[in-house]
Symmetry: C2
Subunit: 129 residues, 2 copies
Amino acid sequence: MSEPVAISDVLDTFTDLWSPRIAGSVNDYDVRLAKVRGEHIWHTHDHTDEFFLVVEGELRIGLREPAGERTVTLSKGSLFTVPRGVEHKPSAPSGAVIMLIEPTGTLTVGDRHEEVPAHVDVTTGHPLA
Amino acid sequence: MSEPVAISDVLDTFTDLWSPRIAGSVNDYDVRLAKVRGEHIWHTHDHTDEFFLVVEGELRIGLREPAGERTVTLSKGSLFTVPRGVEHKPSAPSGAVIMLIEPTGTLTVGDRHEEVPAHVDVTTGHPLA
């Protein structure tokens, strides 16, 4: 990454949903971009927080916390961090583009998850084309 | 950060230039937002990369690399990481809003820097008002 990367240029390189591209890095963290629509799955990262920034559209994140289950809604230009150990389920009924920041090697489905349907890519992120 | 944070709401809370607000975190990293205009200073982070995302406007980053000095220009929606150890100088002649991601405690002027003028805030980032 010796030159700046335009998010729009990255988004032009793929159409896959729930399949993050690694757009950059900072130390041992990845900056990933994903196109999403519909529902991801309930999953938990036991050892890391997960940061979300909504670039386009609206993202919902279901959270199963000690106090109960709730859903937060992130509009375009909003950010939120899911704390490590909190079971969560992203969804985007109308579609969204999101930026994620998490340690390199973090799996999209976490350390524990429900059954993975065909539309969810189990990956640590794909390099840019 | 138990609720999503809208970048626009954070920007409404301050007018200071070159004075980052801590809008979120992920593990031991801060997500900071800063309003910038004019020139920052040449400085170096010896132990960490520094990630920039341009939210509004245009940001330039001067870089003093082994091969020589150059300037990269980031338009709105572009990202770039300054590698650890690389002397750099952000500037924004027409003003910009930027998001930074770096380890909690990272100083705005790095570990080594030129003389700090009055318009540059020496800080590890300010909590949200």
